[in-house]
Every structure is written in structure tokens, then in C-alpha cells.
Symmetry: C2
Subunit: 236 residues, 2 copies
Amino acid sequence: MGSTQDLDYPQIIFQYINGFLVSKVLFTACELGVFDLLLESGEPLSSDAIAAHLGTSPSGTERLLDACVGLKLLAVEVTREGACYRNTEISNLYLTKSSPKSQYHIMMYYSNTVYLCWHYLTDAVREGRNQYERAFGNSSKDPFGAMYRSEEEMLKFMAGQNSIWSICGRDVLAAFDLSPFRHIYDLGGGGGALAQACVSVYPNSTVAIYDLPKVVQVAKEWFVPSEERQITFHEG
Amino acid sequence: MGSTQDLDYPQIIFQYINGFLVSKVLFTACELGVFDLLLESGEPLSSDAIAAHLGTSPSGTERLLDACVGLKLLAVEVTREGACYRNTEISNLYLTKSSPKSQYHIMMYYSNTVYLCWHYLTDAVREGRNQYERAFGNSSKDPFGAMYRSEEEMLKFMAGQNSIWSICGRDVLAAFDLSPFRHIYDLGGGGGALAQACVSVYPNSTVAIYDLPKVVQVAKEWFVPSEERQITFHEG
């Protein structure tokens, strides 16, 4: 920063300006299932084959795939028959729906909810409040009303939270020695990912999750197996 | 990429996911005039003073300023009286409205027009066409109809194009030897920034700009000084 080179050509500014384009390329390739298709196929595919499988436009698909190559999310092999695309190792691990480390759900939440809210960031700073009202018509006094505006939206949000915990949960927990504690309380514990990391790092602990009734119901149904005896739920 | 470390904690993916947040922090700080205020004041200002000057909320302003510090767009000095913020060298040069190298206009165009179009990137790839219709109600067959949907919007777009040329115009032109050519034609030459770079690099050349009548009118009025004899305009 601040070097003569940066002052002549401010690379960092252009990187920041283009940040939203990069986010949306990643989100869109995930949403359309590009990485899932390439994982399943087990072999590199041409842009036309990918477009045919996904039901997308050939021209739009080719441009999206080349953008992903530029971001090193895909690799391309050019043969006599043309260009064929395959996943990189990172894409297989983090961008496919079926991977245990998948970040798919948090990306969908960011892409479809947070992205639109941030369109109104200038208003948010002027007014000092969130922009759920402009973005979704929900009162800004009820942020969870927007996040949980449908069961599908709530599921996406909870799955999104869980996907981040699946990567950094153990590291966060290992930063503190919680072994002297037998009973751990998780206020607003949502889908229970932190609780599951807790009982995995501290096998002698029990975790009591407190959250809204509808969150607890969804967490029990979708995220925490009923045979998990160390985690209990409390609606509040 | 693909190192064990990246595979354990995919830094690059999180950087891509957060790209749009970074863009909007930069755009919003520019739009609210944070960098202009700090340039004019000539001394570091507290968050409260900045909020009072800009008419923004104290809490939102403080969070925005701290985000800018994180991005190295602002520097902070913590004194006994509290934290005071000042521009970095790069911000003074590229993020203030009055700088000859200002990127303000292209950022406003990206923030208020492109950002919303890209919200529909998934639809764009499915359908193979731009999303001006979903974003602004303009027909996708008429992209310039959306860009030029008001004179203000057209001015922003043209000023935005010019701000990029002000940084890289000379380098682009110097990549080719155009000195044998006396008459240069610029189709869709817009605000005339490329033409101005041309006559500056090749002082013996003349440039004829062809563009839509309303673009030519705005270019003459706002961007190309009337005493500039080497540049002519043609409406078409």
C-alpha cells in the first residue's frame, strides 16, 4: 500500500471495485450447479455439454466458466476438440453441495438476502439501521423477521451458519479451555452446529440450546439427529 | 492455490464471498463524501465530527470508518480524546471527487447500476441476456436505454468511463504506434476521454468521434472544451 506503483495504478482500488462481480460469479456458478455437475461427471466437460446439462444459455455459460477459470475455481484443458472444464481441488471440497465442508448454503444466503440489503448501505449509514424494509418490506426492527421470512429462508440461513462452523468450529472452541465445564448453554444456538462442535471437542459436556420456537423445531427436524443425547433444546 | 493450508481453510473462497461487502463499503464511503471531507479538513477527524458534517448516523458512520481502516482506505490515530481518522495517500488521489485521477464516477455507476444488474446474474446465464429489464424495467434489447435512462445517469456513465481512461489511457495508446495516422476515428467515443488521450500522445492527429446525438451533445457540453480543435463530433 502507498508504494509508488500503487499510486500510479491503484490495483487495490480496482480489486475492491470489482469485488461484487467476483462474489456473484462464485454464487451463480454454485447456484446453477456447475461444480456439482463436474464432480458427478468425473471427467472434464465442454462448455456446451455443461450448458445442455444445466439448461442454461451456451453463451452465458461459456462466459461464466471462463470467469471461474480466471478466479481459479475451475481449470480448463484445451484439446483438439475444444476447451474442457474441470473442478479444482478447492471447488470439489467447498463449492459442491454434497461435500461435508460445502459452503453452498451460506453463499446462497449471501447472494439472495445479504447482497440486496447491502445495495442500500448508504441509506443504512445515513439512518443507522438495517435495510430489511427497503430490500424485503420487513420492518427494520425485526431483523429475524426478514431472515426467517419463510421456512425455506430460515433453513437456508441456518444451513449457512452451520457451513461456516463446519470449517472453523473446532478451531474457535479449541481457543478456550472449556473442559472444566459440564453444562454449556448456547443462547440463540440456531441449527446447533456450535453445540455439535462442543460435544465433539468436549465429550463429557452437555449443551442446552435456547432459541425461538420455530428455530428449535427446524433445528430438531433438519440439523441435530434425534439420537444426540448431549444436546437439548429449549424454546424461548 | 490448492496448498494444504488453503484446503483446510479456504481463504480465497471467503475473500470471494465477501467481495461484494468490500465493494459496497468503498462505494458508500465515496458516495457519502468521507474522503472529500477529510481532504478538505486537512486534519484527522473523529467519527462523531465526520457524522455531524455528513449528516449521517453516529453508529453507522463509526462502523463504516472502521471498515475503511480495515481496507487501508483510511488510517486511524488513537489519542487520549479518542480515535481520529484521516485519508491514506491512495484515497486522496483516487477516492476524492476533486482529484484529476478520481474514480468517484465509475464507482457511483457500478454501485447504483451494475450492482443491481448483477443481482440477477443467475438469470442472465440461464437466459443468455442482460438483466436491465429485471433491474430497471428497460428492455434487454436496448442496453443503452438503461445506461442512458436519464441525462443524470448518462452523465454518470460517461464520467465513469472517463475516470478509467484518466488512469490507463496513455498506457493503452502507447501500446500501439499510431504516429503514421493523421486522422483517427473513434466509434462510440462517448465523453471523448480516449480522443483526448490520442491528441495528447499524438499531437499531430485529429480524432473524429461518432456517437448517439444525445451523447454527442453531453460530451460537447461537459467533457470536451470547445477550444479543442483536434477533436470533432459526428452524431449518428
